[in-house]
């Protein structure tokens, strides 16, 4: 056998049995020690972090009277005449107060900045009596002139306020907003003296007081706004901490972008003795999964929403913090009645009848929504919509055959457009399958990114489009006026002159609530006979609420009134009743 050199031997002996020189061993050892030390250091840090838990937000909040509230998205801003969202709603109703506020238990209007109000005989003129104790956070009294100026700002055509239409029931408000009228003094809002605000409406509007609780009708502090720039300029800094002057139960203390907004109880608020919370912290929680985890970890008292997959788990819990209640909104599919084959009302009705809403609600939506057969949610302040059809696959097949597509033959195809969101996808996929199973027709589904989807809907570039509509106030009107011929949110091609007549003239002129509701019923029947939309379900509000929170009852508007909220650290279970505050 050939004698091998040392290197040769090493190579042949295989990599795993390579002999180490002393040097190499020392190198390796020294290094190993260093690496070991680093690893131990890392582990220690981890353990330390785990142990450093400390008091949770909820525990500390209960002790100090601070509510930690998951508020959905980071707000666009805090200017009531600029913002447009629901998260902003909660923030602004904590910072500001409207003429009238809603009682969260009954949704009836209660005194806010106005301590009382009087209606004229024909109910077209409302006189609000401003509470003499109402103050801005800098001590200035709130006067009727503040309202006149603020409504001018809200309606001003240069302002770009997307909610200006809230004030359109006021005489000439719409004309002013559309630049048809230059002189604001012709608009029906006047302050004959600082304590009285006289509002003249185009016609009697039963829900007008509710609108006074919407932020677009709030008053803002004129000197503050004018200090920081032009009144109609959107970009001024008047809403920053330290600049902002507001008139509500809470004042802005801290605003860390995308982290939290902290408010403390206001000293200048006229009703401060009735406010139980000392502090409210709002968190932007746009990720539902993280929000739910935060709730479990005691970081927040209240979640904005809850991931669908978690609902069965919480529903099955005894003593669950999960609260679900009907919400004033409808989830539906828009049908483009100008496109084949949707031009035929029989086709539209067949599609509506072939949907098994109960199964959909039970399986896809985890039993957390209520099937809907019309646009207005049931029991909207006592109004119940008509139900013209039910789940009837056989009936649907017959109708479709009558319309020229027996057993789906000759079906040209249809596409459901929806904006990118998991729950919309789930429903679209389920609907696609249901229509295939019941009617033997092929449907495609397409998701579009939010802005693209909005564009498609506005330009009516769709066959079937998913839509959701949440009411701004509790009245059938704000659902039925969607389908006026010139309604910007119609998007279906539905147009009936008599329908417009009912909604615009006959219903407002009704003398009694029964008469008014009867007109609505007539109009809605007319609407659903044509089936330009396929209602799917009525929205529900879904929140996780820590048992220590009292005073957030469920209501149709999912309306929060922080004045009514208090924290009871002794209440450890949701089935325990809330003892009333000792105030």
């Amino acid at each position: 056998m050939r004698r091998l050199s040392l290197t040769e031997f090493r190579r042949r002996a295989g990599l795993w049995f390579r002999l180490e020189s002393t040097q190499e061993r020392k190198r390796r050892r020294g290094f190993a020690r260093f690496t070991k030390a680093t690893c131990i250091g890392c582990l220690l840090t981890l353990v330390l972090a785990a142990c450093m838990g400390g008091e949770s937000n909820v525990e500390r909040g209960n002790r100090e009277g601070g509510l930690h509230y998951g508020n959905g998205a980071e707000p666009q801003g805090l200017d009531p005449h600029v913002v447009t969202g629901v998260p902003e709603n909660h923030l602004l109703r904590a910072l500001f107060e409207g003429l009238a506020v809603k009682n969260p238990y009954t949704l009836e209007s209660e005194p806010g900045v106005a301590e009382r109000w009087e209606f004229s005989e024909d109910r077209r003129v409302i006189t609000f009596f401003i509470n003499p104790e109402a103050r801005w956070s800098n001590g200035d009294p709130v006067t009727a002139d503040d309202y006149v100026w603020s409504w001018k700002r809200a309606l001003h055509p240069d302002m770009g306020n997307e909610y200006s239409y809230m004030l359109f029931p006021v005489v000439n408000a719409e004309a002013f907003a559309k630049r048809e009228l230059e002189d604001f003094s012709e608009v029906g809002v006047k302050a004959p003296d600082p304590s009285r605000l006289v509002v003249t409406l185009r016609e009697p509007t039963p829900y007008f007081l509710q609108l006074m609780d919407h932020y677009s009708t709030f008053a803002v502090h004129r000197p503050t706004i004018e200090k920081f720039g032009k009144a109609t300029d959107r970009f001024t800094k008047w809403t920053r901490v330290g600049n902002i002057v507001s008139n509500g139960p809470f004042e802005l203390e801290e605003w860390l972008l995308n982290r939290r907004i902290t408010m403390k109880k206001s000293d200048s608020y006229w009703n401060k003795d009735k406010v139980s919370l000392n502090k409210v912290v709002f968190y932007p929680t746009d990720n539902l999964v993280s929000e739910e985890r935060g709730f479990r970890a005691g970081q927040i008292h209240y979640t904005y929403e809850i991931p669908l997959a978690k609902i069965p788990i919480y529903q099955a819990m005894e003593d669950t913090p999960y609260v679900q209640a009907p919400w004033i909104g409808t989830y539906y599919y828009l049908l483009n009645t100008t496109r084949e084959p949707l031009t035929d009302p029989r086709v539209r009705r067949a599609l509506a009848m072939a949907l098994d809403r109960d199964t959909l609600a039970r399986t896809v939506m985890e039993g957390s929504v209520i099937p809907a057969y019309s646009i207005t949610p049931p029991n909207t302040l006592g109004y119940y919509p008509p139900k013209l059809f039910d789940y009837d696959p056989q009936g649907a097949r017959d109708l479709l055959a009558e319309a020229g597509f027996p057993n789906g033959e000759g079906w040209p195809g249809l596409e459901i457009t929806y904006n990118t969101l998991e729950s919309h996808r789930k429903i679209a996929v389920a609907v696609q399958q249901m229509w295939k199973d019941a009617l033997n027709i092929d449907i495609t589904i397409a998701n579009q990114e939010w802005k693209v989807y909005l564009d498609s809907v506005t330009t009516m570039n769709f066959d079937v489009a998913r839509r959701g509509w949440i009411g701004d106030y509790v009245d059938a009107n704000n659902f039925l006026d969607l389908f006026l011929e010139n309604g910007g949110n119609n998007n279906t091609g539905f147009a009936e002159a008599y329908y417009d007549e009912l909604i615009l003239n006959l219903a407002p002129q009704a003398k009694t609530r029964e008469e008014r509701y009867a007109r609505f019923f007539e109009a809605e029947t007319m609407l659903m006979e044509q089936t330009p939309i396929i209602p799917i379900y009525t929205y529900t509000s879904r929140h996780l609420i820590h048992p220590s929170v009292c005073g957030i009852p469920s209501n149709l508007m999912d309306s929060l009134n922080l004045r009514y909220v208090w924290l009871d650290a002794d209440r450890t279970s949701s089935s325990q009743p809330c003892e009333s505050q000792s105030l």
């Binding site: 050939r2 199964t359 998991e422 996808r425 789930k426 389920a430 399958q433 589904i445 998701n447 990114e449």
Partner: protein
């Protein structure tokens, strides 16, 4: 000296081609071979999916919902009651397809660009490579996000966008290769024969530069697949009803507490494939690249 030594010398003199050498070296690399086998299996499964998938792609069972792995559904079901194994197979088809196609796009553009720049040299080369430098410095991730947001659901656009990002390094490598090859005598011979540049590039330069190209291609596919998965995770890549591993993982991540199998199995599939590709690429690089030895 013994007989074995003589035979060894004779064997060495017999001479083998670069490819045969490379193949022998590759075979010795156990991990690379493992990668190759895994990839071949994945490829076969992906091709045959429409015939061998246990369930129809869109067969949903709403009442069933998400269930853990069982006898009927080896990898469980998703929230629609669809079989996960089927989903992963179809997702693999898409992910692999995106990987291959986008890489081919990158390959075509990059190789051509680099070859031309390297061969022609001079001003043209400087301009072409300067452009590459400028493009290299652009934060492509940002543009891709924007592009996908703007133009959305188009899978062709996805291929193009991803391919457009990856061609740059390919171009650089090709150029380097061509530059060093250009000095060789066989190229000079071809030039003196009067062959047009196009033919020289096509028939002489590209085949000889193939080594690093192959290696880099094998390493680009995984980063392309990662890119697609990343975009799908953000909601900007593959759109339903099509599915891809990235999309499956993003859905799984949402519900990983309740249904961990929705995350684990697609994740495993993706990681395994990328793993194999990377090790194969490494192995190829070691096998083909005579210069860079480990020890």
């Amino acid at each position: 000296m013994s007989d074995s030594g003589l035979t060894a010398i004779q064997d060495a003199e017999k001479g083998t081609s670069l490819w045969q050498d490379a193949w022998v070296r590759l075979r010795k690399n156990k991990l690379a071979v493992f990668g190759l086998i895994v990839l071949a299996t994945m490829g076969v499964i992906a091709l045959l999916t429409p015939w061998i998938a246990p369930y129809a792609y869109d067969a949903q069972n709403l009442d069933l919902g998400a269930t853990p792995p069982s006898a009927e559904h080896f990898l469980g079901t998703d929230i629609f009651g669809r079989d996960m194994l089927t989903q992963i197979m179809y997702g693999g088809r898409v992910s692999l397809a995106v990987g291959l196609i986008a890489t081919s796009v990158a390959l075509t553009i990059g190789v051509t660009w680099g070859a031309v720049a390297g061969y022609v040299g001079g001003r043209t080369d400087a301009v072409m490579m300067r452009l590459v430098d400028i493009l290299y410095a652009l934060p492509f991730m940002i543009f891709i996000v924007l592009l996908m947001v703007v133009f959305g659901r188009n899978i062709i656009l996805l291929f193009l966008a991803i391919g457009a990002v990856e061609w740059l390094t390919m171009a650089r490598i090709m150029r380097g290769q061509v530059q060093s090859l250009r000095q060789q005598e066989f190229v000079e011979a071809a030039v003196s024969l009067g062959l047009p540049a196009r033919t020289i590039i096509r028939r002489h330069l590209i085949p000889n530069a193939l080594g690093p190209i192959i290696v880099y291609t094998t390493l680009t596919i995984p980063s392309v697949m990662l890119l697609e998965a990343f975009l799908s995770f953000l909601g900007l890549g593959i759109q339903p009803p099509q599915t891809s591993w990235g999309l499956l993982i993003s859905y799984g991540a949402e519900t990983m507490e309740e249904y961990p199998w929705l995350l684990i199995y697609p994740g495993l599939a993706l990681t395994l494939t990328l793993f194999s590709l990377n090790y194969l690429g490494d192995g190829l690089r070691d096998a083909l690249d005579v210069r860079g030895s480990k020890d």
